[in-house]
């Protein structure tokens, strides 16, 4: 670990590099993005190996969730960069002759990205794309909980990117603590709400703006679906989102399902069938499911299930192997709502099904809990859809699918309330790492005498008429044909 002095010297060097304008030009930014592109193509095998080592992910899962998604995002940024960088003319309401107004995006300067362990490449590089596209210099602090991925990033990024502008700092909580005490022009943090509070509190000391990508319990509302095709697809999507994306260790994974009591047994049967078909007989061997990241989290999940009332509600799965850090897909039916399982974000392959009398009750259920990062609703019912959007609050709402919103470059990805603040992805990444500077250019040719003191009733009257766009009134006043009146 570097000494505090080392770190500060490094950061000052980066600020100097930034101040000298090295990162402002489009060609530098493009070169960085292209560098990332090449990295993703050339190092795919090593990235897969690191993900398998740290999380037991299958290469297809790695590609689908991280590498492929990043390639898509880099290409999108490359294609859009010119547009993003250009000044936006601000509409002036009237013919303000000889005046122009525009909004110019400029980099913030030295930014810090702290990423999480579950999608170690995705959550590090997706923000990095935005920070570089916006012309900043960046320090990246990957999570030490995924150590192979962290050290791979530390190794390869300097080879593909400008090492004076992008630095990887590895380490644990002590290093993060040290980092957040520094003065940054922006911090983008992905992680838990508890640490998010600490990051924002530290940022407050320097008035550093922050984007916090936190978590929550993302509910999936499953309405009665009229045909078996839709039911099958819905179940596949629910299971896929829960079990096949880092084994449920994802901020936007479905945390629990809400369903009407009368459909719960149908649902359960469908789930059992499809778990078998999708994940196979031995998901650990086939790596159709990732493993739990470490003993801490394994213990945490194990403890959730040790609550006797929770244990009693297990209807499928439940077996755990501490040696391989593997938990098989587990479904619970109506575990107690006050249990830790139903109070904390699960972040693991345990899927509670909560039954309700009417599916519309799901709205109150969701609203009585902290605002989640995502709400999923599987329904044909248009009025339920409208109510979901209008009456609940979450980072996002997705109908008839789950997690796919992460892929959309045109949608802001971020939370609200306990699930976060700010957003990114696509242009939102560029914007989150930019300052939108207002620029007004005036001419010397136009001015008017009564803009200036000394003040008198005459000038006041002129202004009164002006504001009402009463041109005739102005004319009359100037011509002396209208008496200026008191307020």
């Amino acid at each position: 670990m570097e000494t505090p002095g080392d770190l500060e010297v490094q950061l000052e060097g980066m600020r100097e590099y930034y101040r000298n304008g090295n990162t402002r030009g489009a060609s530098w930014r493009k070169s960085q993005l292209r560098g990332l592109c090449r990295l993703l193509k050339e190092r795919e095998a090593e990235m897969n190996a690191a993900l398998e080592c740290d999380l037991g992910k299958h290469p297809v899962e790695s590609y689908r969730d991280e590498i492929g998604s990043l390639i898509k995002s880099v290409n999108y940024a490359l294609g859009c960069l010119k547009g993003w960088m250009s000044a936006e003319k601000a509409r002036l309401p009237l013919a303000a002759a000889l005046t122009t107004a525009e909004i110019i995006p400029e980099p913030l300067g030295l930014v810090l990205i702290i990423s999480s362990w579950n999608f170690p490449f995705g959550l590090s590089l997706e923000p990095l794309i935005g920070a570089l596209a916006a012309g900043n210099v960046v320090v990246l602090k990957p999570s030490e909980v995924a150590p192979r991925c962290s050290s791979l990033l530390a190794d390869v990024l300097p080879a593909y990117l400008d090492p004076k502008a992008v630095k990887v700092v590895e380490g644990g909580p002590a290093v993060s603590e040290q980092l957040i005490q520094q003065k940054w022009d922006k911090i983008l943090f992905t992680g838990s709400a508890r640490v998010g509070r600490m990051v924002m509190a530290a940022a407050a000391n320097h008035l550093t703006p922050v984007t916090l990508e936190l978590g929550g319990k993302c509910p999936a509302v499953l309405d009665s679906l009229s045909n078996s095709w839709a039911r099958k697809v819905a179940v596949q999507r629910i299971l896929g989102s829960k079990f096949s994306a880092c084994a449920g260790q994802a901020c936007i994974a479905i945390d629990y399902v809400l369903v009407e009591t009368k459909f719960s047994s149908t649902l359960l049967e469908l789930m059992k069938v499809w778990i078998g078909k999708m994940l196979g007989e031995n998901p650990r061997e086939s790596r159709s499911m990732a493993r739990i990241v470490n003993k801490n989290h394994f213990s945490r999940l194990k403890t959730l299930l040790e609550d006797p009332n929770v244990k009693a509600s297990i209807v499928y799965g439940g077996s755990m192997d501490e040696n391989s850090l593997f938990i098989e897909p587990t479904i619970l039916l109506d575990p107690p709502l006050e249990s830790d399982l139903m109070q904390d974000e699960i972040f693991g392959p345990l899927l509670p099904i909560i039954t309700l009398k009417k599916i519309e009750d799901s709205i109150n259920f969701i609203n009585s809990r902290p605002k989640p990062l995502a709400i999923y609703a599987f329904t044909h019912n248009d009025s339920l859809r409208k109510r979901m959007v209008a009456e609940t609050s979450s980072g996002s709402v997705t109908f008839n699918d789950a997690m796919i919103q992460y892929m959309a470059d045109t949608l802001p990805f971020g939370g609200i309330g306990e699930s976060g603040m700010g957003n990114y992805h696509g242009k939102f990444s560029f914007d989150t790492f930019s300052h939108h500077k207002a620029v007004l250019r005036r001419s010397f040719l136009v001015d008017f005498w009564f803009r200036f003191p000394p003040w008198n009733d005459h000038k006041l009257q002129l202004f009164r008429s002006m504001y009402l766009f009463d041109y005739l009134g102005v004319l009359l006043t100037v011509l002396g044909l209208r008496k200026s009146k008191q307020g």
Binding site: R64, V233, H436, V439, D447
Partner: protein
């Protein structure tokens, strides 16, 4: 009943907590979300401003000694225009924004829905207690003396003097939130007036005013808000943000800084000086976050600049500016003392080239110009926020950029020049909340420009639609169908699926076809 019965009991944590609970209840009932409610409240604000303009002037005169024209007309008119603009645009702002979706999420449709954040806290500053913004009108006088037709081209520019309190309230209401407003205690008459008027004109189930000072503000900051909007100084801004961090509350901080004015030669110095003067002393006598703080010009130009400034100052405020009715006074004795300390520092007191008079009984300080103050003086190391204007001189004007960049990023920066290259260099290299070329402060009035700081001058922005956005959550909504499912997304994972996925994420139709037919 609105406002708080502060005479009866102190507004403490308990009171703050039950206030928030009450407003949460009101928000949860959905009242503030409808277009009708938002529109009615904005109209209420308009009526309030129209019907009580006199009271507003009186309060501002009592608190700040603001000249009638400077404060009432501008402040009231600015708020009026803010409301009118919001009313005009509200329906459009409230509509979801459809966005394009690509192959990776095909088939789907998506939109971004603006929803209110909930219950928001707005803490305002004292210098512009009423509103914020201004517009001005351009007139091309053909000849004043000959009474010929004037071409009046109203613009949106205006001296801003507005109600720093109420402009964010306009945004918060337009966005459908419940609002608690804490006006500044340093302008007590205006604060009391706001409490009374908002109580009468607004829906007090969802819009409240809490008056008070540090204890009341502290009690408010302990609560969980869905957004806090603070206007004031950086020190308190840090406290606000730290309090917000406990609840993961997002913030907008409109702070300050030292807004520099770079003055080049080869320009119409008289016009430039008028604009500098009116942006400095014509704005609460320099007590404004975007007033020009200091000037940088060349050693060659400095004497002439000082002369022209002196002339114009005398034209505006007469030979005895302390007697002028057109200058606001210093808000209170604390600030008066602070400013005289800046003026009387040894290394600076001899640099006064104009003004310097002060009247402690009237809390008045005359417009004062200082030439060539040392960079390490007190006056050059804090935001002046008063009627003192130091001028720094350099050999070449390009050096001014280094001076500006060596300090914290200000809320605004200004340049007067006709040199195109210098203009562009300034615009592209000076970082500040906002920039104006060949004028000062007027960008405040442009509805379509975001008004906010960067770095130490602030976080976030507002005005016009930016206010609406500042108080909204942009919620992504995706509609997918059950058709067109890509089984390739799910396990069991195979190489075939991998190939197809690569092709899909790469977006190439040919690639997709090849993958489908097992060729890639």
């Amino acid at each position: 009943m609105a406002g708080e019965d502060k005479k009866q009991q102190p507004f403490d944590s308990k009171a703050a907590s039950s206030l928030v609970a009450e407003l949460r209840g009101a928000f949860a009932s959905g009242t503030t979300r409808s277009y009708q409610w938002r529109e009615s409240q904005l109209r209420g604000l308009l009526r309030m401003t129209d019907e009580h303009e006199q009271d507003i002037t009186a309060a501002l005169r009592s608190d700040l000694g603001k000249p009638e024209l400077e404060s009432v007309l501008y402040e009231a008119a600015m708020l009026r225009n803010s409301c009118k603009f919001a009313l005009k645009e509200l329906q459009r702002w409230m509509m979801p924004e459809k966005v394009k979706t690509s192959l990776t999420t095909f088939p789907s449709s998506a939109e971004i829905v603006s929803e209110p954040l909930g219950v928001v806290l707005i803490i305002s500053a004292w210098n512009y207690p009423y509103c914020m913004r201004h517009f001005s009108f351009f007139i091309f006088p053909v000849s004043f003396a000959s009474f010929t037709i004037l071409f009046v081209v109203p613009t949106f520019f205006l001296h801003y003097l507005s109600v720093l309190s109420l402009d964010p309230v306009v945004g918060a209401i337009a966005a459908g939130n419940a609002v608690v407003l804490k006006p500044s205690e340093i302008a007590p008459a205006t604060s009391a007036l706001l409490a009374k008027l908002l109580g009468e004109y607004m829906d007090s189930s969802s819009i409240r005013v809490v008056e008070g000072a540090v204890p009341e503000t502290t009690a408010l900051l302990e609560q969980k808000w869905d957004k806090i909007f603070y206007t004031g100084n950086g020190r308190v801004g840090q406290i606000v943000m730290a309090a917000a961090a406990k609840h993961l509350t997002p913030v907008v901080l409109e702070l300050g800084g030292k807004s520099p004015v770079v003055v080049d030669s080869g320009i119409n110095l008289q016009i430039a000086c008028r604009r500098i003067i009116v942006g400095k002393w014509g704005n609460n006598n320099g007590q404004a976050c975007i007033a020009s703080d200091y000037i940088i010009t060349t050693k060659d130009l400095a004497p002439k600049l000082v002369d022209v400034l002196k002339n114009e100052l005398e034209t505006f405020y007469g030979k005895n500016p302390l007697e002028s009715k057109d200058l606001s006074r210093i808000v209170n004795s604390n600030h008066f003392t602070r400013l005289t300390k800046l003026l009387d520092e040894d290394k600076v007191s001899k640099k006064v080239v104009y003004g310097g008079e002060r009247d402690p009984t009237k809390l008045q300080i005359a417009p004062t110009i200082l030439l060539d103050v040392p960079r390490d003086s007190l006056i050059m190391n804090e935001e002046i926020f008063g009627p003192l204007l130091p001028i720094l001189t350099v050999d070449k004007l390009e050096e001014s950029f280094d001076i500006i960049k060596s300090g914290a990023k200000p809320l605004a920066a200004y340049i007067f020049t006709n040199d195109k290259k210098l203009k562009e260099h300034f615009v592209n290299n000076v970082s500040a909340g906002g920039l104006v070329v060949n004028d000062t402060t007027v960008h405040l009035a442009v509805h379509t420009l975001p008004f906010g700081g960067v770095g130490e001058s602030g976080i976030g922005a507002y005005h016009g639609k930016f206010s609406f956005d500042a108080f909204s959550h942009k919620k992504a909504v995706v509609y997918r169908s059950f058709m067109g499912d890509a089984a390739i997304r799910y396990p069991p994972y195979t190489n075939g699926k991998l190939r197809l996925m690569k092709a899909l994420l790469g977006g190439s139709i040919l690639g997709i076809l090849r993958a489908l037919f097992g060729r890639s």
